[in-house]
Symmetry: C2
Subunit: 286 residues, 2 copies
């Protein structure tokens, strides 16, 4: 049973706010959707693994009945394999992810491109294989009303997760396809250091290719393996409001999704963390 | 007493090889210089702290008597302070480092520019303060025959160590000054991921601004705090020979210095590690 409407709402304008499921992964999907409704959070970004575990159809019904917008599905990609079987499997998995987007009612599939295969050192060749794979996936996505959103990851992930390290690179890949098929993710955590990123944001926005905007702050020291050290909004070195204003000035008016991977945050109570993140979004970015 | 000349020499062409002192920091300076002579290693890159602990004059005599070339002194920099006193102290410390270069007989001072001051989020302003500081330091260095070498550090250090993250940025800073006063360090660890770095290498080389070339490999997973996880030559994702060929093609014919910060390597026997690094240099880069 839900609390009285409005009783627990987070103060401030949350109209564009979306919570990425991974940020509060300690919350099972029903608890997450319920808390979003009570707090007045209109959007969620979902992850394939927990959604599949819950059942894609059931998850779609849950968020639809709660009146939530699914802002993104994370994630497809990993398109750098050299081996033919691995490449075919990756393409099939990405088609499945596109189908899941349709079921979930989201128009955006986030792509993490993939790292260097074992023993490989040729970043340019790996980037070329991503372009080839997009050639197969983009029309499939377009026919289903799904946009592929290439997410450049911070250069510290270039070897093992994503050979696409800058917005310029992501945009160059996207520009081979119609904007309604392929665009980019602007995630402050990954691009904040890059003096060329603001110009890339402007170009991407002018071309209608900003398909997702995600917020995370940069804090140090980084933890071992560096994956799960994304900073809570307002605690780090990134001028988050400035970046929100940059994407807005580029013509973006879509959701602002907070995606944090952080071992320390995952130890906290999920609802308390969700409220904290929403309040910080209002204070530091909205 | 030294071993017979040639008895312990490392096989292969070490003419351009230089070992950065930090790579084998477990070796006290006399043992390091002695091992370099026995192994046929002609160059060393020195660090201020151990050199100061040994005595700058005594260190200079030691390496000079051993017939070693001091390829760089690491490091000056940290020029991003907002506070006037801190800024004055940083400038004084950099002048002292330039003087130490003169004593040690090296023409190259490596600069690590510095991170964001506490609570600051403006990278561009911090970069501007570096340019201002160079305006004070470059003439001082030039009058003493010392070249300042701006080292872009990997973007994962942008907040806490170095707001200069790319060769393009380093070169833009250097270009405000004569090449014999200010240039750049090309360190494979920091720039290997950057698709724009090869063009920057070519520009830097054409302008005579490659003042140091350093090798380290990129290995994952990164350790906590990420500072001391630089990969042993040949064990990671960087095509080191390709980068050596790139700087050579840009007109660079100077030392190739191996600088590794790595907690695991520092546990090994220093002489054994030194030999291993020299042999790997021959195999993977020379």
């Amino acid at each position: 049973m839900k609390a009285p409407a409005g009783a627990e709402r987070v103060a401030g304008d949350l109209a564009r706010f979306s919570i990425n499921q991974m940020t509060v992964r300690q919350l099972p999907l029903p608890e997450l959707t319920d808390a979003c409704v009570r707090f007045g959070i209109p959007g969620v970004g979902l992850w394939r693994q927990p959604v599949q575990a819950y059942g894609v159809g059931a998850a779609a019904a849950l968020v639809r009945d709660a009146g939530l917008r699914v802002t993104t599905l994370c994630r497809g990609g990993f398109l750098t394999a050299l081996d033919a079987d691995a490449r075919a499997a990756a393409l099939a998995d990405n088609r499945a992810a596109i189908d899941e987007c349709v079921t979930l009612g989201t128009d955006t599939l986030v792509l993490v491109s993939g790292g260097l295969p074992d023993g490989e050192r040729d970043l340019a060749a790996a980037r070329g294989r991503i372009a080839d794979a997009l050639g197969e996936l983009a029309p499939y996505a377009g026919e289903r009303g799904v946009r592929l959103a290439i997410e450049p990851l911070h250069p510290m992930f270039a070897s093992d997760r994503c050979v696409v390290s800058t917005l310029d690179q992501a945009l160059a890949l996207a520009e081979g396809f119609p904007a309604e098929q392929v665009g980019v993710v602007v995630d402050t955590y990954h691009v904040w250091w890059d003096d060329r990123a603001p110009a890339a944001v402007a170009r991407a926005g002018a071309a209608g290719r900003i398909h997702s905007f995600q917020l995370a702050d940069w804090v140090t020291p980084l933890p071992a393996e560096v994956l799960n050290g994304r900073g809570l909004i307002g605690e780090g070195s990134v001028d988050l409001r400035h970046w929100r204003e940059l994407v807005d000035a580029a013509g973006y008016d879509g959701p602002v999704e907070v995606e944090l991977f952080n071992d320390e945050l995952w130890k906290r109570d999920g609802e308390e963390l969700l409220r904290d993140v929403a309040e910080r979004y209002v204070r530091h970015a909205a």
